[in-house]
């Protein structure tokens, strides 16, 4: 018979992963970010996560901005919903192609990402925070285990709010030279392809919209992901 939560469920690093994800979420909320929740195979989980943050069960806790995105066409809908500084969280199997696509695009949208699931894991690096139950039991999503994980995310996020000194992300550019600011391989998503030869494309990156040269990767269509360096798309990210 399928079991539910076990006392050792968070062993093997999951407790630490939840802690890190909660701090990242608290920091994004503190900076004005919105949480977007998806769960293509188990949509009630998306709604449950969102209502948890919007209408806290504990009186006096802050209401935080969170929405569930459900139904078809999640990628185009998330593309217009998500803004830089937001959070994208999914409950889905590790092989869910829609969630993999969303998570891959999150850096271009400026969103932090988290992926909750069970069974075979998504590929390494698929999301900023992978919160995983390795048990292969296909019934795991219906036995309270996922509910526990996002309840804990909510509870721990609110603990982080009691530590205002830790809610500011450390400055990334403390040194004279840093990878981020030297514009090395930032992910961009094409909004508008070039109008003609030697014309630039309009793309979206974590820092906003910009026009870049796409000669090296042409032709491009809206939605294509490219890596940008010094105002030009150098290549397409691996796996595309």
């Amino acid at each position: 018979m399928t079991g539910g939560i076990t006392p050792d469920m968070l062993d093997g690093g999951l407790a630490e992963d939840l802690a890190a994800a909660s701090l990242a979420m608290a920091r994004r909320f503190a900076a004005g970010g919105t949480l977007w929740c998806v769960a293509p195979g188990w949509e009630p989980h998306a709604h449950h996560m969102a209502v948890e943050f919007v209408h806290p069960v504990i009186v006096g806790k802050r209401a935080l901005p969170a929405f569930a995105l459900t139904g078809p066409d999640l990628v185009p809908r998330a593309r217009v919903a998500v803004r830089s500084g937001d959070l994208l969280i999914a409950v889905a199997a590790g092989q869910d192609p829609t969630v993999a696509d969303l998570m891959r695009r999150a850096p271009a949208w400026g969103a932090a990402s988290a992926w909750i699931g069970s069974g075979p894991r998504p590929p390494a690096g698929a999301a900023d925070h992978v919160l995983w139950i390795d048990d292969p039991d296909p019934m795991a999503p219906a036995t309270g285990r996922f509910v526990l994980l996002y309840h804990l995310l909510w509870e721990l996020t609110h603990v982080c709010f009691e530590h205002p000194g830790l809610l500011t992300e450390p400055a990334e550019c403390a040194d004279e030279i840093c990878v981020t600011c030297s514009d090395e391989g930032r992910l961009a998503e094409v909004i508008t392809p070039p109008a003609g030869l030697r014309e630039p494309a309009l793309v979206r990156t974590a820092t906003g919209e910009e026009t870049i040269d796409v000669t090296l990767v042409a032709p491009v269509v809206p939605g294509d992901l490219v890596l940008v360096h010094a105002g030009a798309a150098l290549t397409r990210p691996g796996g595309w």
């Binding site: 399928t2 539910g4 939560i5 219906a142 036995t143 509910v147 721990l156 530590h163």
Partner: protein, 251 residues
């Protein structure tokens, strides 16, 4: 600067005369996330252990009731009945998961598990907002029971308090119409446990809304499995009476 020779040593990079590292929470501006992350992980483990213990205690206390309720639900389904699940907030999503288990058993469920008619009464925003606006939120589910239900049906309410007015009104309406009524509650069971309108009331004895919902999820799962087992047994008994199909192929 050499390494300290014995005695407590402040963390690297701190003024050796400062004792602030002993009292991180009285620092006006915390900067080191290490202690917080460690605390969060310890807290997460403690809550998981608490939830695991509550799930086990709840299942142990409810085992007979789950079996009896599953058998009663199987009878209703076998007679053509339909299940209506309803709840508020997070509980509405838990009842949606519960209804989904019945209506479309997930990939990986045993092959003998049948898809059964089950609906989440919170799912239709047109109906919920029309009723909430026109007749009041307390009647959003009971009015739907009036519209949809027949005597073979099943009403299942998910609540943590056990006393939500909209759920109690719907259970009362359902009971009056001959439906099988099932309630999920927390705390001490609230009005559901005391009411004569609830045939089977499952109480998760906790004071935490989150821990209650985590145990209700497992209870709901077990109730679904119990219903499916009862249907399977009924099918096997019917098969034995009928005997092998004379027109059948290889066994």
């Amino acid at each position: 600067m050499g390494a300290g020779l014995g005695g407590p040593r402040p963390p690297a990079g701190r003024d050796p005369q400062s004792t602030a590292f002993l009292y991180p929470f009285i620092e006006a501006e915390e900067r080191d996330v290490g202690p917080l992350l460690a605390d969060l992980a310890v807290s997460a483990r403690a809550k998981a252990a608490e939830s695991a213990a509550l799930q086990q205690a709840t299942l142990a206390a409810s085992a007979d009731q789950v079996a009896a309720c599953g058998a009663a639900m199987a009878e209703r389904f076998a007679a053509g009945g339909r299940l209506y699940a309803f709840g508020n907030g997070g509980s509405s999503t838990d009842c949606a998961t519960f209804a989904t288990l019945f209506a479309s058993p997930p990939a990986g469920a045993p092959l003998t598990y049948r898809a059964l008619s089950a609906l989440n009464l919170a799912a239709d925003q047109a109906v919920v907002t029309a009723l909430g606006n026109d007749v009041g939120f307390d009647l959003v589910f009971s009015r739907q029971i009036i519209a949809h239900a027949t005597a073979n049906d099943i009403a299942v309410a998910f609540s943590t308090s056990g006393s939500s007015r909209d759920l109690m009104a719907a259970l009362r309406e359902a009971r009056g119409r001959g439906l099988l009524t099932v309630g999920f509650a927390g705390y001490d069971g609230g009005e559901m446990a005391a009411s004569g309108d609830v045939d089977y009331c499952f109480v998760v004895r906790s004071q935490s809304v989150h821990r209650i919902q985590e145990s209700q999820a497992l209870l709901g799962y077990q109730l679904w499995a119990s219903t499916q087992q009862s249907l399977k047994r009924a099918f096997q008994q019917a098969s034995q009476k009928t005997g092998p199909n004379p027109h059948g192929g290889t066994p």
